[in-house]
Amino acid sequence: MSVIDTATRTGGRASSVAAALLLPLVDRVPVMAAPCRMHASIDRITASLADWTREIGLETPVLARFDRMAGRAFAGFGTDSTLLFAKWLTWLFHFDDEWDEKPAGRAAGIVEATFSRLVRHTAEAVHGETQAARTAMTASLTAARPRPAAPVMTRIPSPLPVRTPRPEGVSPVEAAFRDLWGATAPRMSRRWRERFAHGLAAQGAACRTEAENRCAGRVPSITEYPVLRRGTVGPYLFDLVEPCLGVEVPAELRECRTWRTLVDACNDVTAWCNDVASHHKERANGDVHNYVMVAAHAFGLSDAEAVAWVNDRIAERSEDLRAAARRLPGLFDEFGLTPVEARNASKVACAFLTAPRAQLEWLLESERYDVTA
């Protein structure tokens, strides 16, 4: 399940209570201790997001509140930055919907087809440097090729012509992706675009693994689950902070171990929080891809014990996040960042440090986790 999602599209009894199981973390995790600020222009962001989803054809539940999620994570930043991130969150929500909780979720073939088309778009929509990205993606997709897919049970999007804004037959999800990619990619370097495409491919591979697990009735092991979970979130979600803020972290910093820890820890903390909040619903749906259920299965724990175990992991991982942040000023010096670069990188890191609390408030607020939603 995605970090923003989303297991609870149709609601699940007691799932709003499950989000409250995260509340003890407020006293344990320093970066979750204080309330998020809300963006000063949240009303304008809400209205603009609603206009965009209507124009592009994405039917987003009013109560999904991705505007408010972005408004918290980007509270101090510009309105355009926040709106762009809110659009990406909305897109990701619908993108997950291509297979989560649907028969398609068992169809590895659909997962592959969908990701292949988006990856192809990232490679072909931006002029220049096309071949490198395409080659990288082809290699990645080929390497992760799943075993023969389960029978296709639901919609298979038709192959798309390239560089046509909205050709007939393009789904709203794909049209939205093209729109967002066009607003995002041109301002970023070739390396960033390749990183995004690799993240997309990694998500595709993780989603295929989940689809195969579902087919086989297999529960991931406690050691393989965190890596799988990081993939299903969509690692590029964290890469999107840079273009949304209008900055790009220098490659040597972004690729160093500390920065990767910062990003992965943010991914893990927010994803695991989502798992705690959605585990009742996923259990009801028979989906085992949830850290609470994986822990319960691995250690023979009760539901409450497994939640406590996952909360402990969240608290630990939050410390990794803080420790990585503290190492950054030394790396700014080591890599010779200019004052502007150091501040820009700090803004990106600050968004990662804000995300756990923003995620918590969103989970508590989102009525999609309510039994009546």
Partner: protein
Amino acid sequence: MSTELLKSRLDHAFGQLDADGNGRVERDDLLGLGALILVGFGESPTSAAGSKLVDGFESVWRALSGEVGDGAISPEEFRTGMSSVLSEDARFDAVLRPAAEAVAEMCDTDGDGVVEAAELRLLLSAFGAPCGEAETAFERLEHERGVSVGELVEATRAYYTVPSRPGGSL
């Protein structure tokens, strides 16, 4: 303090804030400085200490930008605004003290009320102050094994007002 010395110190502070050197201090500059300090201490706008810092910086920005009104501050406007805030006790307490205290408390990472040299070095580095004066301050602090949070706040103000007071070289 001579008018010239004060002007030079405020201009230096302006230069540190205006990281991109465009001659204007914008909200984004303060946001970036705040982020740099938060990150260095492993804090966040959503941690107890970080939240105080963000609120403090926000009130400084509102006070300074409110006086100029166009969303960006020139060096002259910065000098005028800061001089006014620094010279009047009530305004210092309302505008600058919360931010200075938030920064000083963040420096006191073990919560013992004392800011140690390593913590202060990180702070001064965030403010872009590897200048001779800051080095002198390091040496003295290392020698004295730290200053209290209150002293650090007073030292900040003293630096921009009366150089003969303790901590004036900060």
